[in-house]
Every structure is written in C-alpha cells, then in structure tokens.
C-alpha cells in the first residue's frame, strides 16, 4: 500500500507540529500578496496572474442561480467550482480533519453555532473584505476577520394557523402551556441544526438557571421529539399530514410554503412565533493551505456583492448580510421580520455544547 508523503500539519489536533519553513514562507508570501492586492486594489492584477480555478467548499443546502459566477469570472478571470457535502456541522468537521490540505480555497456555510470550533482549529486565513462596510456590525462576530458573514436566518417555532387549539402563542412561555406543548414537535439538538438552535434559544431566554425548568415543563406537557427536520415537519406537523400544530422550523418557512405551494396560495398557511427565534449567521472564510489566497479574497468580496446577495433569498431562504440589498417581494409579503432574535456568543456555545445537550437528553428523553 502506498503511503502518501504526509504534511506535518496533517497530524492529530492534539499534537500540532510547528509549521515548517516552507509553510511559513508561503504564509509570508500570502500575506504580502494580500497587502499588495489591497493597496493596488483591483481585478487587473488578478487577471495577469493567469487563469485560476477556485473551489468553494460548502454544505449541501447551498444553491445558487445558474451562471451566478459568470460576471465574477468575466471580471477577474477566476473560475469558481462549487463542491458540497453534508450539513453545517459536517463541513466544519471535514475542514478540521483536512486542515492544511483543504478540500478547496474558500469555505462557505460555517454558522455561529459551530464558528468557534473552526476558529479554535485555526483553519482560516484572515481577510478583511472592503464589502463589510455594508454589513451590520451585529453580524460581524470575528473581530480578526478570519470569517466573513454572508447571510443569516432565524430558527423559529412555526404553527399551522388552522390547526391551533386556540389563539396563536405569542411568547415562549405560552408554548410551554400543556395544550400547546402537547401539539409541539421539535428536533433532537444533537442530530438536527434547527433543534440545536431552538435549545440555544431557550437557554438565551431563560439563562443557565431557567432553561432546564422550561424544558421540564415542555416535557411534562408532552412535547414530541424527532431526529431531524424532515421527520418533524413532514412526519408530525400538519404540513405532511401529521397532527402536530407547532414545529421548530425557520422564519422563512411560511415564504417557502407560499413559493412552493401547490395549488398556488395567496396567504401562508403557517405563522411564526417571533419570540422563539434564534439567529443563525452563515460565514465564509479562506481555508489555510490554499494556493490562491489573494483570489479567494476576491471571491469573498463577490459573495458580499449585490449581485450574489440578491440571489440568496429565494435559493437558500435566508437573508443577505449586505444590508443594502433589497429582499424579494415574496419575503417582504410572507416573511416576518424578527426584531430581537435570541442569540449566544460562539464561545459560550462551543464551551457548553456537550453539557447542554446531555442535560437536555436527561430531561426530555429519559
């Protein structure tokens, strides 16, 4: 069996070796290059460096309109190849496992619930995009700019308007009332991204001292737990023929219910409990080990450009990070604006992830 010549950095994360001279000098070169690019500012130099293909590594929920990168290629000479696999958690695992020998040049789709893990593993190269001027401060979670916010969305409890036993709930507390808790289906936080986000929402709302009690009330009230979003939304929720009136989904789900309705409808059949929303922010970062750090920066800029940002909502059903980009009419009409979403810092999430989900499992599943 052939044994590949392994890079020293390709060792276990427990015992990282110091970077070799070669790696150091490459980093230096990269740094110089990005300084040059920043000062000289422009696509003309990039074209001069010959045709480059960048690989954008992402999760499988990534979709864009056909030809979205054409104008970028025309302007810079850089071709973009998109490869996707797995969910937001999996792409971080992949990036950490292939540290130093990344699968591509830019990673898109690491969110704030996994961000700290990526930062701790030092898989990104810092790059401060000039486009950040158009991005709200609240989305820029990494002051060192190792990652750049591209879009955000909220995980919220949805309800099927016609199936509620009474008035729609307006607060998280309402949800814990027995008649609502018993018709609420959510997801296991360890196997589902929205399930984890909803657990974080309750922790952000009730704090370290109160969230366990809240879940005890949900459990006593008879909340149902599914492994994944599909099983909850299409298995248990009214939308798929189930009998649960409330489900953990996204703030944009009512928009999708209208856009993909069959036959077409004017009003969404579902509503959003805005008090329950946890904000997920998706970031892109340049992967350490790329040979095209300079061009990768140009791609990050493009991801924040008006053209790309405007393409995001109806493809991925999330909101562009660039505040200057207008939302499509479907979002304005059928979506909800979440004024004060719940949130926790990436550090808090990373530090307590296992402890929180273990406690959750004890309370809800045992």
């Amino acid at each position: 069996m052939l044994h590949p010549d392994r890079d020293p950095s390709d060792r276990s994360p427990q015992a990282p070796l110091p970077p070799t001279i070669a790696r150091r000098s490459r980093r230096l070169a990269t740094a110089c290059a990005s300084v040059l690019a920043a000062t000289a500012c422009g696509g003309s130099e990039l074209v001069a460096s010959g045709p480059v293909t960048l690989t954008l590594v992402t999760h499988e929920s990534f979709t864009v309109s056909d030809g979205i990168f054409d104008s970028f290629t025309a302007e810079t000479g850089i071709t973009v190849e998109v490869v996707g696999a797995g969910d937001a958690g999996e792409i971080v695992s992949r990036a950490v496992l292939s540290k130093g020998q990344p699968e591509g040049d830019v990673l898109f789709g690491i969110d704030n619930t996994f961000l700290q893990r990526g930062l701790d593993a030092e898989i990104f190269l810092a790059y401060e995009s000039p486009m950040l001027a158009s991005v709200p401060e609240a989305l820029q979670l990494d002051p060192e700019h190792r990652v750049t916010p591209i879009d955000y969305g909220d995980v919220c409890v949805n309800y099927w308007i016609d199936a509620l036993p009474g008035d729609p709930p307006t607060t998280l507390d309402d949800l814990a009332e027995p008649e609502l808790a018993s018709s609420f289906v959510t997801q296991n936080p360890e196997t589902s991204s929205p399930g984890f986000a909803f657990l974080l929402a309750t922790i952000a709302r009730y704090g370290e001292d109160g969230w366990e009690n809240y879940w005890q009330r949900l459990a006593d009230g008879g909340v149902t737990v599914e492994a994944g979003w599909e099983g909850a939304y299409y298995g248990q929720f009214v939308a798929g023929g189930g009998d649960k009136a409330l489900v953990t989904s996204y703030a944009s789900s009512p928009v999708a219910e209208v856009v993909f309705a069959d036959p077409p409808v004017d009003v969404a059949p579902t509503g959003v409990l805005t008090d329950s929303c946890f904000r997920q922010i998706e970031f892109a970062g340049i992967l350490d080990g790329t040979e095209h750090a300079e061009q990768a920066g140009a791609l990050i800029d493009f991801l924040l450009s008006e053209e790309f940002q405007a393409d995001i909502p109806l493809n991925m059903f999330v909101v562009p990070a660039n505040a200057e980009v207008e939302l499509p009419p479907e979002f304005v009409e059928h979506g909800v604006t979440v004024e004060n979403p719940l949130t926790l810092t990436p550090q808090e999430i990373e530090e307590h992830r296992s402890a929180w989900t273990e406690r959750w499992t004890d309370i809800v599943l045992r």
Binding site: M1, V82, E190, F260
Partner: protein, 535 residues
C-alpha cells in the same frame, strides 16, 4: 506454446483476484486506516480506557447487535418461505415478485419512513418503536434472502432429493439431510449481509426508532460531526470493525462445513418447478403473497398514492415537473437520475468483474479470493462516516477527493458483497472435473470460460448486476459524504434535498422521483431476470 504450463496458469488465475484485492485495499482498507490513524494519533491509552469504560458505549453496542440480530432473524423467517416459493413452485407473478423485492433497495429512507407511518399508522400499530425498525429492515432486506437463497435453491439438483425419498426418507429428513446442507453457504452469506446492513443502518434508526434509540452508527455520526470528538468516534468505529471481523469468521466457519459440490450444473439441472396443487403448496403460495403484499407492496402503494396527490385530487403534475430544476437543487431531478444511472452502470460493471474473479478464486480454493470476500464485507459493516472521512483524509494527497470516479468506485465496493453472494452458488456449482475434462480435450482456458462457465453463471451474473445497480442507485450514506459538484449530484441526494424545505411541490417531486427510481430499477431487474432465464 504450451498453455497448460502450471506456472503460467498460476499467474493467470492469481492476477485477477490480486487486482480485486488491490481495488479493495485502495478503496476500503487504506481510507479506514488513514482516518483511524488521524483520529487516534495522539490519543493516549488512559483516554482509550476511559472511552471503553463508559457504560453508554457498551449499552449502545449491545442494542446495535441486538436489533441487527433480531432484524436478521425476522428477515430470514419471512424471506425463507418467499425464497422457497419462488425457487421451487410455479407461483403466479413469480418474476414480478422477484423484481418487486429489489425495489426497496433504491427507495430513500426518508420516503420509506413516511410510507411506513402512513400504512401502519393507519392500523394503529405504529409508534416510534423497535417494531418500526424491524419492519423497515425486513422491507429493505427481503431481497437479499429471496435472491441469494432463492437463487441457490433453484439450482439444486432435484434428483438427489428424489433419490432420498425413494430410499424412504421423509420430506423433513430429505430437507434436513439433503437440501439444507447445500443451502448453508448462501444462507450464511445472506444472513451476514442482512446483519451488517441492519448493523450500520442510520436513517431507519433515527427516523423510525425515535430519539431515545442509539446505535454505534448513529453515535459515530454524533461524535464525529456534532461533538467533533474524533477519538471517541474512532473507538466506536473500531468496535464496529470487531463485530464485522467476528461475524465474518463465524460465517466463514459455518460455510466451510457445507458439502463441496452439492449443487448441480445448469445442464443437468431439472428446472421444472412444482405446480401449486397440494395443500401445503397452497399454504406456501398464500404465505408468499401475504408477506410480499404486507411488507413490500403496501408501503409502496402508499408511496405511489402520495406521489400522485395534487392539491385535493390526483394527477401526474409532480412527475411532469421532474425535468425542471427547482431552486433548491443544483440540477433538475431528472438530470440527477441520469447521473445516478451513469454511476450505477460503472459501479455494476466494476462490482460484477470483481465478484466474478473473486468467486472463481474461492471456488478453486484460492486464499486470495477468500480474503477479497472477507474484506468486501467491511464497507457494509463500517459506518458511512468512517468511510467518507477516510476518503477525505486518505486521498488528500492524491487529489482524488473530488474525483467523480470516487462515487461509482465507492458504490461498487458497497455492492460487491451482494453480487458475490448472488453468483457464488452458480460458480461453485460448476464441477471442477467438468473444467478438467474440457481442458483435457484440448480446450484453452478461454474456451473453458466461454463454453462451460459462462452459460452456467449467466443468470446469476445478470441477477447480481441488477443488485449492484440497485445498491448504487439507492446509495445515500457514503455518497453524501463525498464532496461533489453538480455533476456528482445523484437521485437519492435530490430526494433528500427536496424534502429539506417546506412546500408541497418540492415534496411532491421528491415522492415522484422516488417512484421513478423504484420503477426503473424494478423493471431493470425484471428484464435482467428474463434475459437470464432465456437460454
């Protein structure tokens, strides 16, 4: 030139199984070793002892083996009468049933779980439960027993049994002493495959077992992806491999005690199937129809009905839309299906070629072939995460990680044990003396293959090819771990993606695409069966 010089023949017969072994070494052994080394590299023995000392690890391992064993017993119990009925009796719709049982293989778990809920929920027997897991495992695996065991059964020379009867043996004695020993090999092979399939099943456990049930497979995913404790995941992966090894050894021993040449060649085989005329045969016929009807057909009918639901009525709207790309997919569902079929053709070709050379080597008592047979079980018994992350780490330096060839190659590896089990009985049924006689009469090795082996194994090879196609078209786990662009997007991935966002049209398309996948693979199995039988 003397073609029969032993050294030359030796090289000639050793080269193909060596190639097969090299293929498995590159696509199974190397990636697994790479990911285990990467994950356990700096881990000390105190940490390992701590992980292995956790009660949770052992209770999860226990439940994994328990549910897999129970699923295997149930699949064998229900598959046995179906295999017997189809192999030995002139059942109405025999070919259709043989093809129908293959269809579950390609149906995405997400869709099957929903169908099971629809069907059995209506009878009020369905909660998230162990029962639900078992029922789904039988649904997915019945084909293995029916095709592997049934295929071997239909090759048994009826004259031996007739002779036993004439000599005064009861039909039970005849079965126990004459028929059953011959079936040992195929029985062990199908039981092993079913067990490993259930041992590593992921979607079924999560979706039908409910949130409180965990197996080694679901735990590996949890530790490797959600918690990113790669060392724990690696230890669990090693436990999986221990079980695979133990099982392979046990099955190998049990198989070896089987008589060497109990099966007859096709030329001397009495293909005549018995008519359904006696009381017991009628009972058997009814059993076959009930089992297939309830376990296989009912959930499929539910799926088809739901795929046709449009608003408040029914229609083909979702099917018509399959050619359009909706926003959530990189390519249209139809395009994804074409990708799947292309991958499946390549995967089936590789799997069949590997299986044929391996089976021939095993039949001649070759150790290499037996080794290939053992290693081929590994991908079934290790988690998709292990294999997927193994490719990620192991192929980092070869620039193979994003190669499209990786998809059909992985599919071929996963399909290999199914093909091998299907064609093994046919290849061993060729008496060695037949080959020797032909060679003695001056036939070249090539002529022996063409004139003697090929007609006998043709049907089994076609049946195995159908299996490999089904495995490839339906494969989700490993594929989902391979990074790929739009050209690597397959039909099961499309179904999964369509179901990951609200909206009736998306769900409708997911169900319609599932029906089309099932239809294509079912008809292919039917055609291959027909071609195989027409001699």
């Amino acid at each position: 030139m003397d073609r029969h010089r032993p050294s030359l023949t030796g090289i000639r017969s050793a080269a193909p199984p060596t190639l097969a072994l090299a293929f498995l070494g590159a696509l199974v052994v190397w990636p697994i070793v790479a990911i285990l080394v990467r994950s356990l590299g700096g881990v000390g023995s105190p940490r390992l002892a701590e992980i292995l000392g956790r009660d949770a690890v052992w209770s999860v391992a226990g439940f994994t083996v328990f549910q897999a064993a129970l699923s295997t017993v149930m699949t064998l119990a229900l598959g046995f009468p179906v295999a017997l009925g189809l192999a030995r009796y002139e059942l109405p719709g025999r070919r259709l049933i043989r093809s129908l049982v293959v269809v579950p293989f390609v149906l995405p778990t997400v869709v099957v779980a929903a169908s099971f809920r629809a069907v059995f929920g209506a009878f009020g027997v369905f909660e998230q439960s162990l029962f639900a897991i078992l029922a789904a495992h039988v649904f997915f695996n019945l084909a293995v027993v029916v095709r592997v065991l049934g295929g071997a059964w239909s090759r048994i020379d009826a004259r031996q049994a007739d002779a036993a009867r004439v000599l005064g043996a009861s039909s039970w004695q005849t079965f126990r002493r004459v028929t059953f020993p011959v079936l040992r090999g195929p029985l062990a092979a199908s039981a092993t495959i079913v067990f490993l399939f259930c041992f590593t099943s992921y979607g079924v456990i999560l979706m039908l077992g409910g949130p409180t049930r965990a197996t080694l497979e679901t735990e590996i995913q949890r530790y490797a992806v959600f918690r990113q404790e790669f060392d724990v995941a690696a230890v669990l992966a090693l436990l999986q491999m221990c079980v695979v090894a133990l099982l392979a050894i046990a099955a190998g021993r049990w198989q070896r005690r089987a008589p060497a040449a109990g099966l007859s060649s096709a030329r001397t085989l009495r293909r005549r199937r018995l008519p359904i005329d006696s009381g017991p045969s009628r009972v058997l016929g009814v059993m076959v129809l009930v089992i297939v009807g309830v376990v296989i057909v009912l959930p499929m009918v539910a799926l088809v009905e739901r795929s046709l639901r449009v608003g408040d009525g029914h229609g083909f709207d979702h099917f018509v839309r399959l050619a359009e790309r909706s926003d959530v997919l990189p390519v249209s569902p139809l395009r994804a299906l074409l990708h799947s079929l292309a991958f499946a053709s390549v995967a089936a070709a590789i799997a069949v070629a590997c299986a044929v050379v391996t089976a021939r080597s095993i039949a001649r008592g070759g150790r290499l072939g037996r080794l290939v047979g053992l290693v081929s079980l590994v991908p079934l018994g290790v988690s998709a995460v292990t294999l997927g992350f193994g490719y990620l780490v192991g192929f980092a330096r070869f620039d193979l990680r994003r190669s499209l060839w990786l998809i059909p190659a992985a599919h071929a590896v996963i399909g290999l044990p199914f093909v091998l089990a299907t064609i093994m009985p046919a290849i061993t049924s060729i008496p060695e003396r037949l080959r020797q006689a032909a060679a003695g009469l001056g036939a070249s090795p090539r002529e022996v293959t063409r004139r003697i082996e090929r007609p006998i194994v043709r049907r089994a090879v076609l049946s195995g090819a159908g299996f490999a196609v089904a495995v490839s078209v339906g494969e989700f786990g490993a594929t989902s771990f391979l990074a790929r662009g739009a050209s690597g997007f397959t039909a099961p991935l499309a179904v999964f993606r369509l179901l990951s966002r609200p909206g009736d049209t998306l769900r409708g398309q997911a169900l319609a695409l599932s029906v089309i996948i099932g239809l294509i693979v079912g008809s292919l199995a039917l055609v291959l069966d027909r071609v195989g039988e027409a001699e």
